[in-house]
Symmetry: C2
Subunit: 311 residues, 2 copies
């Protein structure tokens, strides 16, 4: 099971603190040393929109020096994709919002316009002979705060369209914590039928405390990669103090307890969390394991890091 | 699905505040009006040990005035059981700790001595012509902070012994938050095979954030009743600030989102939580829904309260 660390992107874009590039490098290195092999290091968005992620190209360059680290970035459009290709990122995640209202408000595009952009990205990527994979990430898949309900059929239509447009992979995100285990089981089960192994990742926010239950439900459909952020940073700007993403350390703990290999050393991850808590001293952090500590019975044998996933 | 409120017992016994009897009565009434039909109102332990629960007999008397409310108490021994029978509680939960070390430290009895006490309680109950049900509650079923590992085989042995001794029902508790969904699925699945419908309830602490994931895993084995405490009060005295029980409001929210009827009005429950937060202003409360609020898409149609479970 792969726990993809997205704290450097989805976490840091949602908080006030601008983490210095040196700290981000330390974070990436320590996460790598803890055994994490997939890290989303930033986003190729215009720096005026997200100044806290302006060092993304630097971070890709640094992360690519770590053997077998699979380096992801988010790209909102073709321009971002060109930067990701130039930086030789291993994967670029193109977000699509299944909620039309959210899509127009956040991306200023309809879902179908995002699909068309993915087709252009694919053409440019192939023409450049680049090996940067394209992941279509379908957000607000369980509803959104603007539009309310989002139909599963629309999520699946977008998924098929992304694949047809040339996305190498697709993933589903519960952007605002509206999902529940039954909805996850249903939607993820259908998504697996459409996309098979190309449906590669689930992304769950813990806004209402269900992230880990939702991940467990998703695992039962065969999905084997989940996004998470250290200390659960991220969260919804519209719900001050609400929990953010699934906390990486809590997820690694759950999986380890279940006997599922992640290749990640939980004690090193907890030590890194403590450093992050120092860097983000003015932010609200989340997660529960750091406070309670590991159970006496927990096996902390250092596991072998998983091989990087490149397909 | 029954959400059994145990905050008045498992919650209040673990915190500093001594809640006045009037507040407890208000809590019981408001929980009842929100649709809760099973409430553990206290514990028949010596008042010098738990002065905060000294009003249990009063609370049973009050709770029994509410039509169709199924009123539970905890009893540690025969003496407590005699009080529960005299008070005409609907159910008395006799705790057994599957961890021998925890059993000796907390109950001053071995598990087998607790089983023998259950046999005595059964004899006295039957001789009195009482209809108070006996539930054997097996705690530290996934390990404990003193002993470490607890073998599933020992949990199941205790379960069979409790049934043989005359317990009407049995339940399993993760007293210290050591469980994970895989362990729950395995143990609960085996327990169902041994006890069938008599295995009636799961009790999960959220010490390490997995209570709701564990409950979802347990639901898949067919168990249809879970303990929870409003605002997640309870928690482990050895892990200051750590989360307590599964929060009733978060659990009701999860089940409602999944389309599973609990008979509980989530808005009334959240309103009650706000009152409880006032009563317990100096305590650390838990849960996530109260902060984020309900999703825009959430159905808050007031459901019919479930009929009381008496078998």
């Amino acid at each position: 099971m792969v726990v993809r660390e997205v704290g450097l992107r989805d976490g840091l874009q949602s908080i006030q603190t601008i983490l210095p590039t040196d700290c981000k490098r330390e974070w990436i290195r320590a996460a790598y040393e803890a055994g994490q092999r997939e890290i989303e290091v930033g986003s190729f968005v215009p720096p005026r929109l997200l100044p806290q992620l302006a060092d993304t190209a630097d971070l890709v360059r640094f992360a690519k020096t770590l053997p077998d680290l699979f380096v992801s970035v988010l790209v909102p459009n073709l321009k971002g994709a060109e930067r990701a290709i130039a930086a030789q990122a291993d994967l670029m995640l193109v977000p699509l919002s299944a909620s039309h209202a959210h899509s127009l408000a956040n991306l200023r595009k309809t879902p179908d316009e995002v699909v068309a952009e993915v087709a252009r990205i694919r053409a440019v990527r192939d023409a450049a002979g680049s090996r940067t994979l394209i992941e279509g990430g379908i957000g607000t898949a369980f509803g959104c705060t603007l539009q309310g309900a989002v139909e599963p059929a629309e999520v699946l239509r977008c998924m098929q369209a992304l694949l047809d447009a040339g996305a190498d992979r697709v993933s589903i995100a519960d952007t605002v914590g509206y999902a529940n285990p039954a909805a996850v089981r249903d939607l993820f089960g259908q998504a697996r039928k459409i996309a098979g192994e190309k449906f590669c990742c689930g992304h769950f926010h813990d806004t209402r405390g269900l992230a880990l239950a939702n991940i467990y439900a998703a695992m039962e459909t065969g999905v084997a990669r989940f996004d998470a952020t250290l200390a659960g940073i991220g969260g919804c700007p519209y719900a001050p103090g609400a929990s953010g993403n699934a906390a990486s350390e809590d997820l690694v703990f759950m999986l380890g307890g279940m006997g599922i290999a992640t290749g990640i050393d939980i004690n090193r991850l907890l030590a890194l969390r403590a450093r992050l808590a120092g860097w983000l001293a003015t932010e609200t952090l989340h997660g529960t394991l750091w406070r309670a500590g590991l159970p006496k019975t927990y096996s902390t044998a250092v596991p072998t890091p998983l091989a990087a996933h490149t397909s």
